[in-house]
Amino acid sequence: MVLASMMGFGSLARESGLSFGVSVVSTATVWGLPGQVAFAELFAVGAPVLAIMLASSMANLRFLPMSLSMLPLFRADERAWRWRYILVALMSINTWALTLRHGPAMPQEQRFHYYMGLCITCLTGGLIGTAVGYYLATSFPFFIIVSLIFLNPVYFVFVFAGARQRNCILALLIGAVLGPLFHLISPEWGLPFCGVIAGSAAFWIDKRMKAPPGEITP
């Protein structure tokens, strides 16, 4: 999955005029498709340096709540905790979603191995994908490249469709509705606002549903 969607990025990067080395290394150091796409597309149109930094940074703002919600899983394992700044650097939507789903059921000391294995597999796939995509870019027809790019969001739709916790499901549903609406209002700030509002609403509704009748005092 990661390999195929990073092939899409590789071909995009080549068309944007990024060098092979920069494209492949960006997969490892930025490690998040929306930020990388912003980087490649803005570079292609010759945007100012500061604009490229801001856009790719904003595209990856989601990593703040993501790393925050994942780290508690590793807190009790002293060795994993020492590596916390590395753990978050390796985190992607994929490894985050899977770790959040399977991690809590695992013994503390197993989570670190599970997570590292997952990250290294995904990163390797991503690096190979970027390299292959970069070299094959010119020989792929439009419908192949666009399908590879489509694969990535679709995969995440079904990763999240498997969520089971009520507050997470609520946040996903509200977020999915608000995301496009907020984007229309502000393409730069729409997403963080969407996250905070959808997340807070889901959190609050979930708490109200859990509270026994009579105790609800808003």
Binding site: M53, V157, A163, G195
Partner: protein
């Protein structure tokens, strides 16, 4: 053209972009160290993360930017509908759903670029 001479070329730009991305990840660590991992704040942040990701993905599918914007909304939605149908048939298994949806999308865009649709 992006002014690369001051920042050490394309590699300099990559370093700046990578650092501006990493600050969010590191920020998560800094806050995580200061809050109760099982407390309400931590739960709220998880909800925010889910809300943000759902918003991002639904925006990409409904209002894509870049190359995906050149495809039809109807094709993307048809592919997604097939995906959800497979997801339900295969008892919440994401692999057939993802592959099925992508195959439908590939078929539709291929047929369109050859003028059959």
């Amino acid at each position: 053209m992006t002014n690369l001479s001051l920042i050490g070329g394309m590699w300099g730009l990559l370093i700046l972009v990578s650092l501006s991305t990493y600050i969010w990840r590191a920020g998560g660590v800094l806050i995580a160290q200061r809050i109760d991992p099982n407390g309400a704040v931590s739960q709220w942040f998880t909800c925010v993360a889910y809300g943000m990701l759902a918003g991002l993905i639904s925006r990409i599918l409904l209002m894509p930017i870049g190359i995906l914007a050149e495809t039809l909304l109807a094709d993307r939605m048809a592919a997604l509908a097939v995906g959800f149908f497979l997801f339900w048939i295969f008892k919440r298994n994401m692999l057939p759903a993802t592959i099925g949806a992508t195959m439908v999308f590939l078929a539709l865009t291929t047929l369109r670029s050859y003028g059959y649709l």
